[in-house]
Every structure is written in structure tokens, then in C-alpha cells.
Symmetry: C2
Subunit: 177 residues, 2 copies
């Protein structure tokens, strides 16, 4: 079955952004020619799930090239109806239903590109099979946490751990069932 | 100068205990003969700082043998005066003053054995030089977080990362100044 993966960077203290969506701390580990396995990861993905706020941020700061110019199906989770654009669907329904539907179809894997609200919704429904978490060597002190309180306990299995000379450590887990 | 170190285990989602001080998730990585470097770490420590609640918990659940029967100086941070016992001092003063005093003296390193309140007090004053954090492969979902909101940003340097066959990953950082 297709799996749903999270591939995300956090500070050691567990934040994916500082207040006001400030991602500046990611610059600490930017290195020419080093993508921390992102291209390889995306090669196995044909569907992306993303929260509306994160989508708008990506549109504004990076552009749709982030989704490889319409090669992948993108589902933007939103409360407000919006006209679909190419392979991008604005989805106002129940996220659990969406993921169960997608998993029942054939295809490559599904990637949740955040934000934290969507990740935590998916965790509450135990829908995430794979976690690739890159830990940036900094305590940012405040901001948006990757993991919010009030989720069920979930056992994991460590697949591997990689260390990079920038000080980034990438932890790869799969859900243990 | 003597350094102040934290050596602690957390779940991947950043909790050091589940609600009601439940440390049961640590059993997931218990293994005969594997101490994850704790004995080696403690060999360079002669002073321990610990919060009162954590101290009481250790007294009740493990016993004072945890502190090697009075071989080390133990400072219990508390708001309530209590009679000192052997090398154990109940300290009601300012924790920053205590740590600065200890660091100005000669001796082996200082170990903060928790809890989260004390660790975060020390982080706010930027008094921690070394972090050895063991990540247990589980999302516990709720409980006491190691890192609380509202601290200053602090850059770290990755010293190394070790993976164990139990799935525990140990990340070792030092404060980058």
C-alpha cells in the first residue's frame, strides 16, 4: 500500500519555525549541493498533502516550482472553497477520508509537507507511516512546534540515522504496528 | 572551566515523561548490559543539580544509590528549606548564582539530572555547555516536555550521534559560542 511520509526539519527543541513563520534557522545547515536526500525522497512521491497556510507561504516564498510544476497531485487542506488549478486540489472535506481514499488507490507514496496543524491531524488518526526528521543544531527557543500535545502514543522503528558535516542529523523512522 | 551537562532521554516528540511522571516508555530501550554511556559520562561528574520534585521521585523510585551513595555533591533546587544530608544540599537561592559559583570552583563537571523546570531555568540563563540527548523511538503524545517555550536562541555544535540496536539515537551537542 502507498505510504504517507513526513520529511521535515526541526530545531533540537522541536520547532519547525520561529514566531511569524520565520524559517531563518534552516540557513544554518544550507550547503551547496547538499539536499539531505530530498530529491531521492521526492522521486518516490506522486502526491502531496499540505495545509493552506503552508501552501500560501510556499507560493509566496518559493513558487509552485516547489511541486515540480504540476507533475504531482497536490491537495491543499483548507476550510475555504477555492477553484482547483491543474493538479492542485483545494480540499475542504475530512482529511482522514482523503488519506484513506488516496491510500486505497495505486500510485507512488504520499508526502505531507506540513504545516504542523495538518501533521498533528494526521497523527491523531494514526495515518503517517514514515518520518524523516532532520534535526538542525540549534535551540530556537520559541515558535511552531512539530508535535503538539494531545496525540495517541505511537511506537516507531528506527530505520537509520545520518549525520552531515553541517551538524544536521537526519532520523528516519517507520511506524511500528 | 567545569562544564554543565544535561544527559537525558526523550521521546521523538520531545517528552521526558508521560502525564503523572510516567517514565514507562524508557522500558522500550532497556537492554541488559547497555547503559548508553551513562557510567562513562558520570565518571567525569562530581556535582549534580536536580529539581526537588525529580529528587523526591528518585528517592522514592530508585533510592540514593542513584547518586553513588554520597560520593558526589548533590544540590537539590527547592523553595522549601530542608536540613542538608551528607553531601546533599537543599538549595533555596538563585540557581544562576549557584551554577556560576560552582563553575568558578575547581572540580569535575556538573550534571543536571532534571527536571524540565530546572533545565529550562538553566537554558534561560544560557548556563548549559553540553547536551547528551537520547531519543527513544516512540511518539508518546503528551506529558512533560524537555524544552519549554520562551527561551533565547542558542547555537549548538554536533559532537556526534550514536545509534543503538534498540532504536535509541543519542545526539551529543555542545553549546557554540
Amino acid at each position: 500500500m502507498r505510504k504517507l511520509s513526513v520529511f521535515i526539519a526541526t530545531s533540537l527543541d522541536g520547532y519547525i519555525a520561529k514566531p511569524n513563520d520565520d524559517l531563518g534557522f534552516l540557513k544554518l545547515v544550507e550547503k551547496e549541493g547538499e539536499d539531505y536526500g530530498y530529491a531521492e525522497f521526492k522521486a518516490n512521491i506522486d502526491t502531496i498533502i499540505i495545509g493552506r497556510k503552508t501552501y500560501d507561504w510556499v507560493q509566496r516564498e518559493i513558487g509552485t516550482s516547489h511541486y515540480d510544476n504540476g507533475e504531482r497531485n497536490v491537495y491543499v487542506i483548507t476550510r475555504t472553497e477555492r477553484q482547483n488549478v491543474g493538479k492542485t486540489t483545494f480540499y475542504t472535506g475530512n482529511i482522514t477520508d482523503l488519506v484513506q481514499q488516496l491510500k486505497s488507490e495505486t500510485g507512488k507514496n504520499i508526502y505531507c509537507d506540513g504545516g504542523a496543524e495538518i501533521v498533528n491531524e494526521l497523527l491523531k488518526s494514526d495515518l503517517i507511516e514514515e518520518f524523516i526528521i532532520s534535526i538542525v543544531p540549534v535551540l530556537v527557543g520559541n515558535g511552531t512546534r512539530l508535535f503538539k500535545d494531545g496525540r495517541p502514543e505511537q511506537l516507531l522503528e528506527l530505520v537509520n540515522s545520518k549525520t552531515f558535516d553541517t551538524g544536521l542529523t537526519q532520523l528516519h523512522y517507520k511506524r511500528k504496528r
